[in-house]
Amino acid sequence: MTLVALFFYLFAAIMVASALMVISSRNPVHSVLFLILAFLNGAGLFMLAGAEFLALILVVVYVGAVLVLFLFVVMMLDVDFVAMRQGVMQYLPVGAAIGLVLLVELILVLGAYTLSPEIASQGVLPIPDPAAVTNTEALGNVLYTKYAFYFQICGLILLVAMIGAIVLTLRHTTRAKRQDVGAQVRRRPEDAVEVREVASGRGLQL
């Protein structure tokens, strides 16, 4: 038990520290790398909570795909991050004040928090026994049956996102060289190759 607590505080501390570094490091590439570190520690926390599927998904999807994409964007686009960061000190007091208010409010709310006995009994019921099924199996059991509706709407939302990305960014430029399979197949050797007699010592005028 103490080992679990030890790892919890280790992961949590590294996560908070790297999250701070994400917004404070000067180099945007470092920011993205720190974000990866934060996600990896988040995955560790999920693992401690017994949610191994979520932990691995976090690593595979966020670290493996999303953040690598981020890294590409940061490296390839010429965004002036120094200019974007200007004015931080100017806004810091206001931001800190709002953060403080939110913190106080949250403490007030959570201070009044008590678990009612009915909820405790309700909460236990729908969760399958972790010893009986693995995470993946438990998710798979409900995702395509009980939550098929939500799953399908998520599919539609992703379709809309894809249409949007294409509508807003795809441009048919005349300069782009596109492959025309028909033209490639129609092409005969006599169109492309010409046999010329080369006189010795004269070279060839193209």
Partner: protein, 480 residues
């Protein structure tokens, strides 16, 4: 539990399935055809909407499916018909717009269809997860159509603004939902209501409720969450603004009614004061901020903020009478708004292209008397002048407020609608009494049809009033 039993009942979702399938077919068809096919695709989308209206009308009410996440009752039926009319009419109006402006994108009808699916899911949602997903599907499609005119700086700016603020509101909504889940142990509306009625509305529930209401208030653009509205209305292409002003407002209002009436019914005292605040602020800001506007689309944005305030009066009453008022108000609002936007889309000159200033309407009564007459009827109706339909919309919500002992709210409503009359009458004054400017181009056929139906409804509404009233009553009864 047998496998057969696990398969959900898909009949109540039939209209949504029709629209989603047609949207995907149109998407594929659009990708393989060129620009000349776009009007055909638009027509097909309109037919799909009409098919969905038929399906919605014939389905039997009172059924719920997907473990209670989706509910099809009389309330859903009535509002889905409204939303589908809004969607179909805005596709129709975009067709005439596209003939003169560069707007022929086959993605437009597809996105409108998918957005309509999202709105219908919002109307039927009786689970917080379904609420969020429906809202997100609806909004995401709208963010895209707002900036579909991507070469115009104003259009892309409007899209970006709407996207950022919409994402913020989704975040607030999700935060509220997670708090509610944490404090009541459920996401289904009935289980939330049950827990609140047993345990009372604790601080955590109120906290979550406030965040959920703030998130939805963004979508209906109630003050103080209205900042995006004028800029987005002005920047978006006119047919998109027509869509944005009509259908999503109705859907978000329906969602709000269902959430507070079903999930938070036991916490009525708590949400009532929030709704009253939103209502009063929206009415006052809508009435006063519209006075200084010279762009007619910005003016309509403030006008819609004000109208949402009036509709919220009915909700604040929290009674069956109040819900009838909201439903009727949204019906009147939808039909009149579509008519007004038909006029706005018709504001086009041969040399200048689209014009959007109120001053451009000068002397319309002389140059195009029919359009001016219909426009005047619609504006009088929006202002709530008695013989027209807008008056009866306001009448029902004020009546509900008085019956629920919210007399100060009703008085503020009456006063601010008197202030609101000023800017509607100013447009009429410009049309009738000012010196005519150059003629506007004659209206396209589709726009004439929309304007005639809408203007006709605002004058001759008593011919269809009995069925509307009985349908609205049935809709409200299904929530109680």
């Amino acid at each position: 539990m047998s496998e057969l039993h696990l398969f959900p009942n898909l009949v109540p979702v039939l209209p949504e399935i029709i629209l989603a399938v047609v949207a995907i077919i149109l998407l594929i068809a659009g990708a393989f055809t060129d620009e000349e096919a776009v009007p055909t695709l638009n027509l097909l989308a309109i037919f799909a909407m009409i098919g969905a209206i038929v399906a919605v009308c014939t389905l039997s009410g009172g059924s719920s499916t997907f473990d209670g996440a989706f509910q099809f009752d009389n309330f859903a039926r009535y509002l889905k018909v409204l939303v589908l009319i809004g969607g179909a009419v805005s596709i129709m109006m975009s067709m005439s717009y596209a003939r003169f402006q560069s707007f022929s994108r086959f993605e437009y009808p597809v996105l409108i269809l998918l957005s309509t699916v999202g709105m219908m899911l919002m109307i039927s949602a009786s689970d917080m997860i379904a609420v969020y997903l429906g809202l997100e599907l609806q909004s995401l499609a709208i963010y895209i159509v707002v900036s579909i005119n991507r070469d115009s700086v104003r259009s892309t700016e409007a899209g970006l603004k709407y996207f950022v603020l919409g994402a913020l509101s989704s975040g607030m909504l999700l935060y509220g939902i997670s708090l509610i889940y944490g404090f009541t142990g459920g996401t289904n509306f009935y289980s939330i209501a049950e827990t609140i009625s047993v345990d009372g509305a604790g601080l955590g529930v109120i906290f979550g409720l406030v965040f959920i209401l703030a998130g939805v208030a963004f979508k209906i653009s109630a003050v103080p969450f209205h900042m995006w509205t004028p800029d987005v209305y002005e920047g978006a292409p006119s047919p998109v603004t027509a869509f944005l002003a009509a259908a999503p407002k109705v859907a978000a209002m329906a969602l709000l009614v269902r959430v507070v009436m079903e999930a938070f019914q036991p916490a009525l005292i708590e949400w009532q004061q929030i709704i009253i605040f939103l209502s009063v602020m929206s009415m006052i800001l809508g009435a006063f901020a519209a006075i200084g506007q010279s762009n007619i689309k910005r003016l309509m944005a403030y006008s819609s903020i004000g109208h949402i305030g009036y509709a919220l009066i009915g909700l604040a009453a929290g009674t069956e009478q109040g819900v009838i008022g909201v439903v009727i108000y949204m019906t009147v609002y939808l039909v009149t708004t579509l008519g007004v936007f038909a006029c706005i889309i018709a504001m086009r000159r041969t040399d200048e292209g689209m014009v959007e200033d109120i001053a451009d309407l000068a002397g319309l009564a002389k140059t195009n008397p029919w359009m001016a007459a219909a426009f005047t009827a619609l504006l009088f109706s929006l202002a709530g002048i008695p013989p027209l339909v807008g008056f009866f919309g306001k009448f029902y919500v004020f009546l509900a407020a008085v019956e629920a002992d919210l007399i100060p709210l009703a008085i503020i409503g009456v006063l601010s609608s008197a202030v609101g009359c000023f800017y509607y009458l100013r447009i009429i004054k410009v049309m009738v009494f000012d010196e005519p400017k150059d003629r506007l181009e004659p209206m396209a056929g589709e726009l004439r049809l929309v304007l005639a139906v809408s203007g006709g409804f605002s004058v001759l509404f008593f011919l269809v009033w009995t069925p509307i009233l009985s349908a609205a009553t049935a809709a409200a009864q299904s929530l109680f």
